[in-house]
Every structure is written in C-alpha cells, then in structure tokens.
C-alpha cells in the first residue's frame, strides 16, 4: 500500500517539534516528515515522488529564509501528483496579499494562525486528511479509525465505494 505522508515546513525547529508532538497519534497511519526551508521541502517531495508514495497534507509556515511558504504551496499544487494534496498555512505573519494569493492560486484549504491549540491542530489535520482520502477515491477502511469514521462511512454508503462480494 502507498504511504500517505504529512509534510511540515517551518524554519523554527521548535515549531516543528511542537507540531509533531501535537499530531503524534496519527503518525503510525500517516508518517510525518519535517523540512526547515522551501528547498528542504522540495528535496523531501522529490523523495516521496521517487518512492511512488503520496503527500496527503502539507502544513506550511509563510515567512521563512529563502522562498516563502505561499510560493511553495503554489509550486507544489501545480505538480500533477499533488493537486489533491491538502494545503494548510500555519503562520502568524502572512499578510493579506500573501493569504489572498494562497487561496486564489495555491488552492489553500485551511489557515491556522499561530499560536494554535493542540486539539485544534489535530482536528484540522484529521479533517483535511479525511477530505484527502475522499477526493483521491481511496478505499477508506484502513484510515477510518484514525480519521473521521462517520464521514468516511457516509462516503462508502453514498458513493458505493465497496460492494458485496
């Protein structure tokens, strides 16, 4: 089975640590990878691609040395493998212009303002990954226990994802 990764990009290692700790419960199902810059993130993404795995969610800071987060999101969203990847900005410093750009050109799915709450972050990650599973037409059973089981079950029911055999 393909692995579905979560990529977390932030120039501050403490932020990456905190995010990893907050969503640690989900790591067995969705492995988490961190990157400290846009360049770092690109390398990780190439790696994921070359292994034939998927990127389910990217949690990205905006203001970082080198390329900014919004530009990275737009770039990733333009790659055919990652059009369905859920894109979340996790930032305190994205101005209106950058945010508008992220929504309009980067298909931003969610915006989390720093500082965030641990439970809030976990919930957002689960909701986003649930959407990812649905949008990419995967068999949801392996992911139900970790994600929004009721929503995935509704999806099986409404769309005839599984049938009697």
């Amino acid at each position: 089975m393909k692995k579905i990764y979560i990529l977390c990009v932030d120039d501050e290692p403490e932020v990456l640590d905190a995010v990893q700790r907050n969503i640690a419960d989900i790591e067995d199902t969705f492995p988490i990878i961190t990157a400290e810059s846009a360049d770092d993130a690109r390398k990780v993404i190439e790696q994921i691609k070359s292994e034939g795995n998927d990127l389910g969610l990217i949690l990205c800071d905006h203001v970082m040395p080198g390329d900014h987060g919004v530009d990275l999101l737009i770039e990733i969203g333009n790659q055919p493998e990652f059009t369905q990847t859920r894109k979340v900005l996790l930032t305190g410093q994205a101005g209106l212009d950058a945010t508008v750009k992220a929504v309009n050109k980067g298909q931003l799915n969610h915006y989390i303002a720093k500082p965030w709450g641990a439970e809030e972050l976990m919930q957002i990650v689960k909701d986003q990954l649930t959407e990812y599973i649905i949008k990419t037409n995967q068999n949801p059973i392996p992911y139900m226990a970790m994600l929004d089981a009721a929503k995935l079950s509704e999806y099986i029911y409404k769309n005839g994802i599984l049938s009697d055999e």
Partner: protein, 465 residues
C-alpha cells in the same frame, strides 16, 4: 511483498490453465481438460487475487468463448473429439440471465432508496419500538440492519448504519463493552439479513441460478419462506450471544438522527415504485408473475420517472453482476463438459452418507467463505454439489436442491474475520472493536448457525424440495 503475492498468483493461475492440457487425465475429454484449466485458473485467481475478483469472472467468460464455444479457436477439433461445443451466446447470456436482471432490479431500488433516504426513514421507523434500553436497542439495530440488507447491499446498509451509530458510540464511556455490541451488531445483522431474500446478497444468486439450471424455479416468496425463519432465529441467537460476551454497562442508549421525509413528487414516485415492486415480489405465489419479470419494472420505471438519472445508473455495482455472471458461466462449462462429474468421481462418495456429504459441503463452504469472497465460495462449491447430484454418485437420498441452498446460505454465516465480508471490514475499520471480539462472536454465531442450517436442511427444507 504485495507485488510478489500478485506475481505468484498470476504465474500459478496461468500454469493451472495450461498444465492440464498436457496431462493425460483419464476419463476427461479435451473439452473437459480445457474446462479444468479454466476452473483451476479461476479458483487460484479468486483466492490469491492478483486481479480483482470480478475481473477474474470476466476472464472466465472470455476464455470460455475463445476455448470452449462453437465460435472458439478449437471448435472444429472439439467436435472431432465428440464434444458438441456450447453456443458462444450461452456464455454471454449469463450476463443478462434472469437472476442478473433480478439483482439489477434490486440495485435500481436500492439506488432510489439511498437517493431519497427511504432506507434512513425506514431505519428510524424500525428502531422506534425498541426504546432506549441498550439490550433492546441492540436487537433493534440488528433487526433494522437485517431488514434493509435483505433488499439492499449488505455493505451499503452497514456503512449507512455505522454513520447512524458512531456519534452515539462516541458519547459512551470509553470502557463500556456496549460499544462493541453496537459495532458488531451491525455487520452481523447485515450478513445474516442478506440471506432473507433472493436479492439479499450475491451468493443467493449463485444458488438460485444453479437451481434454475436444474429446472427448479424458486419463487421470491418461497425463498423467503425457507430463509426468513432461519434469519429470525439467527438474529435472536446472535443478539443473546453479543449481550453475553459484552454485557452493557450503560442503562440508556438513545439513537437520534434526523430524517426528513422527502415529499417532492419525484420522491413519492420512488416510494410507489419501491412499494409496488417489493409487494409484487413477495406475493409472487398469488399472481404468478415471476420475480425476475417484475424486476424489470424498477429498472425501466425509475429512469422513466426521472427518479434515477444517468449518474445513478453509472453508480450501480456492475462488478457484482459480472462477478455473479462469471460464476454462473463457469457452472455451465463444468456441467456441459462433464468436468463436474469427473471431479466428483475422484472421490469415492458412496462410503459417505448423504448427511455426511451435506456436512462436508457445509463445513468447506463455511471455512472457505471466511477467507475469500462469499460469492466465489458458492461459485466453486455449488457446481460440485450439482455434479454430485447429477452423477448419482452420492446415492438416491442426496437432495441436490437442498445442498445448493445450504451452501448458498452457509457462506453468509461466515463472519469470523475482518476480511470475511465487507460489512465486517467496515465495522473493524471504525476502530471500535478488535479482531478478537469479531472472532469470538463470529465463531460462536457461525457454528450455531451451521447447526441450525443443517437442521433446516434435514427437517424444514424438505417441505420445499
């Protein structure tokens, strides 16, 4: 890992197709050898699943048309060997056989039910009399799930019911065993409920098609008369077993969910077609119109009345129909080429009593269906029971009709593992239960179910055959 298993399955399957052609198999004509190759390949593909199981079914029809039919590559040499090849149309026709049309009618109704919430409304109506005592709510869940799954897909019914109960399960105390009762009652209800009507679950189609092939035409209501008592008894037993294994700690469990009855004109048309079709099905004995004929009413009427549109029709589980069609088609060749009889002759059956035979078939069906698709299990075993009956090897008191029904029903009672049935897989997926919970209840329910099915086949079903 996964890739390796696929490669091994493919290689084994293809080898099994080719190898019998080069062996001297005593008593088997060239046509029988070809059929043996197809049969073995299909069995291996179905078990190892290098390709989806419905794809294997389509492959069977392709191979039959190319290798065994009157338009096939070997038609002339087969005729020379004294075999009269079946028309290629016979194989194609399995895809539109009356049983397939019956299922298509069921799919049309189920699609309309989902679209206009008939199933949810019905669930609320059915659950109401069971109150809020957890014990009776559990029974209510099983009865509602079983009732719906008798007419809809077991899998879709399970998914729907799971969405209904999950929010309430979440509100229970974390350690309350009643969580597990709720999460298990739904797949168990769905698996058992599928037995109740001919369209309840695909293995029923395999059994009915085999009976038709033998000239035994079972009315919709007749099937229900022979199956519903078993279903009711099994539901009650399964209910008691669940409560015994996981005694509830809570004393109140209230299921609330919103269902707005859709009163738009199109929805009302959907209700009418649904009601008329089901009514005509269950009263088949009174008016004499075959259920397979009635089945075309929803197929044609629902699109005509704009209840179902193009998109809804595309959403039918066509692969289930093809899975069944391939199974029926394989049965044709097994019989026509004499392969079924040949396989049967490999064993000296006369040493076994007809009861021992029935038990043997039932146990094999039960065991196999826990591991692979129920439909496939029935598909492989039913033709052998037919072969046994036709060849007379089993003695005069072997009742072929009953053994076919027994196999068709026993496979639905196989629910030990998460992989045993898609409803089990969904319930497991929620993370509310563990595999050992499912195994415990599945083994007890399965074995009791097996004994009760056997009792029916000895004491009750002889009234119908």
């Amino acid at each position: 890992m996964k890739l390796d298993k696929k490669v091994i399955g493919s290689v084994l399957g293809i080898a099994a197709l080719i190898l019998p052609q080069f062996l001297a198999l005593e008593g088997l004509e060239p046509a029988g050898q070809l059929a043996l190759g197809i049969f073995l390949m299909a069995a291996i593909f179905w078990i190892c699943e290098p390709i989806p199981i419905f794809a294997t079914s389509l492959l069977i029809i392709l191979l039959q048309v190319f290798l065994l039919s009157d338009k096939g590559l070997f038609a002339a040499s087969l005729v020379e060997s004294g075999y009269i090849p079946q028309s290629y149309k016979d194989f194609y026709e399995t895809m539109a056989s009356p049983i397939i049309i019956l299922f298509l009618g069921g799919f049309s109704l189920a699609s309309a039910a989902v679209k206009f919430g008939i199933d949810r409304t019905l669930t609320r109506f059915l659950l109401k009399p069971f109150g809020t005592n957890p014990k009776y709510v559990c029974l209510g869940l099983m009865v509602s799930t079983a009732t719906l799954s008798a007419f809809m897909s077991n899998t879709a019914t399970t998914a729907m019911m799971i969405t209904v109960v999950l929010p309430i399960i979440a509100a229970l105390d974390k350690n309350d065993p009643f969580k597990r009762v709720v999460a298990l009652s739904i797949p168990i209800g769905a698996n058992i409920g599928g037995i109740a009507t001919p369209i309840g679950t695909p293995p029923n189609a395999i059994a009915l098609a085999a009976l038709r092939e033998q000239g035994v035409d079972i009315a919709f209501s007749t099937w229900m008369m022979l199956a519903v008592p078993l279903v009711v008894v099994m539901l009650i037993i399964a209910w008691r077993i669940l409560l015994f294994l996981f005694p509830p700690a809570t004393d109140k469990f209230e299921i609330n969910f919103d269902t707005k009855i859709n009163k738009s004109p199109v929805a009302i048309l959907a209700y009418v077609v649904f009601a008329v079709t089901v009514l005509l099905w269950v009263t088949e004995k009174l008016h004499g119109i075959s259920s397979t004929v009635v089945a075309f009413i929803p197929i044609a009427a629902l699109p005509a009345l704009s209840v179902l549109d193009q998109k809804d029709i595309r959403g039918f589980s066509w692969e289930v129909l093809w899975l069944v069609a391939g199974g029926i088609s394989l049965g044709l060749s097994l019989k026509h080429t004499g392969l079924a009889g040949w396989i049967i002759d490999l064993v000296n059956w006369s040493s076994l009593s007809s009861l021992a035979l029935l038990i043997a078939f039932g146990l094999v069906a039960f065991a196999v269906a826990n591991l692979i698709s129920n439909t496939v299990s029935a598909t492989i075993l039913v033709p052998l029971a037919v072969g046994l009956g036709v060849s007379g090897a089993a003695g005069a008191d072997f009742n072929m009709g009953i053994s076919i029904v027994t196999i068709g029903i026993v496979v639905s009672l196989s629910m030990i593992l998460p992989i045993s049935t898609p409803p089990n897989a969904i319930a497991m997926g929620t993370g509310v239960i563990e595999t050992k919970d499912m195994a415990k209840s599945g083994i007890i329910i399965g074995l009791i179910g097996f004994v009760i099915t056997l009792a029916c086949s000895l004491l009750y079903w002889p009234l119908f055959f």
